[in-house]
Each structure stands twice: as C-alpha cells, then as structure tokens.
Amino acid sequence: MSEEKSLEKVKAGKEKWDQGSVQKTLSKAPERRKTFTSISNIPVERLYTPWDVANLDYGNDLGFPGEYPFTRGVQPTMYRGRFWTMRQYAGFGSAAESNERYRYLLQQGQTGLSVAFDLPTQAGYDSDHPLSMGEVGKVGVAIDSIEDMRVLFDSIPLDKVTTSMTINAPATVLLAMYLAIAEEQGVPFDKVGGTVQNDILKEITVRGQYIYPPKPSMRLTVDLIDYCFKNVPKWNSISISGYHIREAGSTAGQEMAFTLADGIAYVQACVERGMAVDSFAPRLSFFFNSFTNVLEEVAKFRAGRRYWARVMKERFGAKDPRSMMMRYHVQTGGVTLTAQQPLNNVVRVALQAYAAALGGCQSLHTNSYDEALCLPTQDAVTVALRTQQIVAEESGAADTIDPLAGSYFVEAMTDKIEAEIDDYIKKIDAMGGTLTAIEQGFVQREIQNSAYRFQREIESTERVYVGINKYTMEEPPPTNLLKVDMSVGEVEEAKLKKMRAGRDAGKWKAALDHLREVSQSDQNVMPAVIEAVKAKATVGEICDVWRSIYGEYRPKEFV
C-alpha cells in the first residue's frame, strides 16, 4: 500500500533526523529540560509526525461537524452561524444590586445570564440562619423567596434571554422560582430557556455544597430532569461539571473522565426511573474548565466529545444524534489566576478563552483578572467580556470549524486523553460505578494527588509559574478592590422577617404540607415545589422539609 509505504518513509526520515540533525544540535546545545510534559503531566515529544496518528481513521474518529462522533463539533456550521453564548457568571449582594449588574452586562453585548448565588442559598439556608452568618450576599446574590427572584429579573424578559443558574442541592427550588417569575411575566414554559447546574455528584466530590445524602439527592436531580423534559423543553436540566474537579487540582484527563463518569451515573439513574434515553439526553449539558495550555485543552474537549458520543450510542443505545452530543459551557481557570501581578491574568484568560473557542464550546465565561484578590470589579468584568469578544471577532478562531484537527500533535493528544478517560471509566465501572468510587474516596484521592504533585512542581520550580516562582517582583498593595457591603446580611434578614409576617400563613402551611407528602411518595416533587414558592415558602423552609425526611449528609474526609 502506498499509504503504508509513505508512513514507513516518514518513520525512517524521523529516525534519521533524530540521529543526525537533532543529535548534532543537542551535542552543542542541550534542550531546556530532559523531559517535557503538559501541565497535566502528559509527556510531550519533540516532534509529532503522521506516524503518531497512523491509526487515525478519519470517518470513524473525526467525522464531520454536527455528525457522529462529533469530534469536530456539535453543529454543522459552528461559529460561522453564531458565536458561542457569552455568559459571565455574576451576582453579589442583594437581588437589586445583581439585577443592575445583569442589565449592565446585557447592554455591553453579553448574550446570556449566569447567576451566582451566595453560599447560604446554595446550601439551602435562609439569610437569617446561624450558619449564614457573614456569608449573606458574599460570593453571589442572596435569594430567600420568590420576592427576591422577582427583583433579580426585574425588566429582564425571560423569553429573550437564557439564564444559567449555579445551583445544585436546592436546584428544584430556584428553578421553581424562575418558572414562577416567567409565568408572572406571561412567558409560557416552552419559551423559557436556560440551565441549572443540578449536579450533586461533583458537590460531594469536590465542591462541597451538598445537603442530603447521595440517594435522595439523586432523586431530586432526576425529578428536575424528568419535569423539564415534559414541561420546559428548552431547559438544560443538568450541567454535569468538570470545572470544579479541575479547580480542585485534577489533570485535564481526570477532569473529563470523572465528569463523564458522573454523566453516566445520571443517565443510568434516569433510565432506571423509566425515562427513554432519547427523551432526556438531548437536554443534558456539561461544564468544563479551560487552562492556559491551549493545545492540551483543545485535545481534551475533542476527546470528551468523541468519548461521550460513543458512550451514549454504544452503552445506552441512544438513537437521536442530539443525545450523543456533548454540549458544554466553559469557564476559564479560576485557580490559574495569580494574586501576584494580577494584570498578567488578562493574558492567561485570553489564551484560555482562545482554547475554549478552538475546542468548540457552546458558551463561555471569561474570568476577571482580579479574582485572586476579590470579587470582580465592574472594570475587570468588562475587560473579561471584551477578551472573549476579541477572540470571537478578531482572532479568526470562529471562522473555520475545529481548525486544529489534523495537527499531528493535537490528534495524538486527543487520542491520549481519550485513552485516559477510558481507563478511568473502566476502573470506576469495575468498582460498581461513580457513587461507589466517590464513597470509597477513589475520585477524591486521584484529584488530590494531582493537586499535590502540581504544588510540589511549582515549589521545586520544576514547573514555571510567572509571577509565582519566576519573574517575581515587589508590588504595591492592590487598589480598587470590590467590597461587598457588610450590611447586606442585616438588610436581607429584615426583608425576610417582613415577608414572613406578610404572607398568607394558611396557604404557606398547606403548600409545605403538600410538599412533604409528595416528597415521601414516588411522585415528582417539582409541581409541589412550584406551588410552595408561589406561597412564599423560602429556600430554607423548603430545604428543611427535605432535611427532616432525608437527613443531612456528612461526607467522610479523604486527606
């Protein structure tokens, strides 16, 4: 075969080059280091040739955009049709302050909203709970009741924007509030679009915002998915998240592997509920990180898309191509940002956003350069949004699809990461699935080991981090940091007290009683949750109903 012949020729040529030109150069000038590795510790060779991708079968392994196995992208025209959704995660202080920031971002050309909730809301506590002390309105907006939600989306038409909500354990409650507000605005449920994170497995593994034990948590997760596919067809009912896995220290391959393992667990749970795979799978979405090593990130995204397509088709027997698409949001890497020389972060974010675009994301959040110092200021947020607008409009990355395909290196890396994903999935399957692997601490330990290795590499200066272990300098203290008003807590408490005093107590009690009844049965909880939020039951009160039925989760700590 002539193709084989030409490959042999390449191989022979490379050997000759290695022994000739390379050796000659090395004898005079050694390379910077003995071995080169990516930030995820994947070995990187001096040169890649057709020999490294000799097994690549174009039709089977790459295919065409919008077609199985979706390696090259999930849509036939990708960003030539329209850019990814530019969606900056934001929220702080009161609902009114956050509403103001959202309206500012929409004016600046942002195309979707992304709501950050404060930690009490995420953990299912009201603003006046003792554990909420000091946390109200800090890392996100404080939402206690439907009244706050109404203010949050004031003058924002919910049929015109899509909204992503980073909410997990109480996802049903916040979605219920959102739907109730849509109804008030006269927007029918089938016109409402957006995403709830609703991914409890990664909360248990790495993010820490869990409430109930895994089993009842999974029940609420599946209830939401089930309700959405029947009633809110444009809603992404889960965003299976690798972002936080990576932030916790995993490698790129681990991020993708553990996320897809979680995905498999959710699909399995829905199938076990009796849902047909093609009914709900098209609404599954994912959420990933993007670090500064552009080529490795692109390979990660491509490997993930291909692997997920195969899982859905081969393992779950999906027929609808939409069920096989790994559609995902990307956020640039929060942990890659340095408090030292913070303006350098603008460059990191630009490279990470470029990687996300070359990798084929569906939506993107670009971090603000000051996030290792404080919550982002408006100026920093504007630069972050402009960064992705520059990538979209000026870099050319959006004009042709999957432009790095065919690069010997990127294809070899894609294969390598896919093999790593497959290894992990097989290991996790052998343990009896993700839930067991998490309970045994396997996933946590793998991530922590990677975090540890990375830290040691930085401290031994084996790996360079600009501004941290090389090119350091004395700096004056940073100025212009965002301060959240410390009185938010008191204001929210007072507002909550007033709301509780003014609501119809009979209606409120009846709604919570009904919710309790439904929660103890096999019925889907969503309609009862919607009824409860309309009766002004708070996030904390609804979550307390479930706490009393399901108990609270205390994970084993694996250090």
Partner: protein
C-alpha cells in the same frame, strides 16, 4: 526530658465555603513535615473549631477561607480559644484574604495570613518557629 512532641495542628474550613483544595493540600504537607494533623472537613463554626482544638489538645489552628468571611470567623475563633484558656495555641489563616484585612486579623490575634501563591515550605517553617514549646 521528654522527647520532642509532635506538633498537633487542626486544619479547619470555617463557614459554608467549599473550596478545600488548599486546606487538604496543607493537611498532607503538614503531615509530611512531621506534624499530627486533624482535618475538620467543611462547614465549621468557630465554636466547633475551638471544641476540636480543645479535645485534641492542639498546638496550632489553621483556618482557610475563600468566601470572604475571614473577618468574622478568624477573630471569633481566637476569642473563643482565649475564653477556653487556650491562649498559647498558634492561630494562622489563609485563602483569599485582601491585604487590607491582614493587619486587622493580626491585631485580633491571628499570627500569620498566607495568601495564594505562598510556598508551603514557608508555612511549615513559620509554624515550627512560632508554635509553643
């Protein structure tokens, strides 16, 4: 004279913050540096942290916070330690702590604040140099 006792350190996550990468990493590094480490896990109130310090007869309490609640939690823990007569327990903190808050925390009795990018060897050294004898 008794042989040198191992330094006992409580690594704690106050409040609702779930960012525990730093806390867990340091727990491991302290153990490798020869200390005895108790990691509290998440969602600790100052009361819970101080109770653990008391029960474990700890020499050091290290708290990590990335959600902006350090100004409430860190001084409160110091205060409670004093109330329990544990004045000589070394208290240190880390996480996302704005530089302008550092002096206030130090005045309140937190002996050192370690921000992002700190070399963990420096933290170990600081603890060894400042822990009670």
């Amino acid at each position: 004279m008794a042989q040198e006792r191992k330094i006992k350190i409580i690594v704690a996550k106050p409040g609702l913050d779930g960012h525990d990468r730093g806390a867990k990493l340091l727990a491991r590094i302290f153990a490798e540096a020869g200390m005895e480490v108790v990691y509290t896990g998440l969602r600790q109130t100052p009361e819970m942290i101080v109770e653990t310090a008391l029960q474990e007869d700890a020499d050091v309490v290290g708290m990590s916070s990335l959600s902006g609640v350090h100004n409430y939690f860190f001084p409160r823990a110091v205060e409670l330690l004093k109330e329990k007569g544990l004045d000589d327990v070394l208290v240190v903190g880390g996480g996302i702590i704005p530089r302008e808050d550092v002096d206030g925390l130090k005045n309140a009795g937190v002996k050192a604040i370690f921000g992002p990018g700190t070399d963990t060897n420096d933290i170990v050294t600081f603890i060894k140099d400042n822990v009670r004898n």
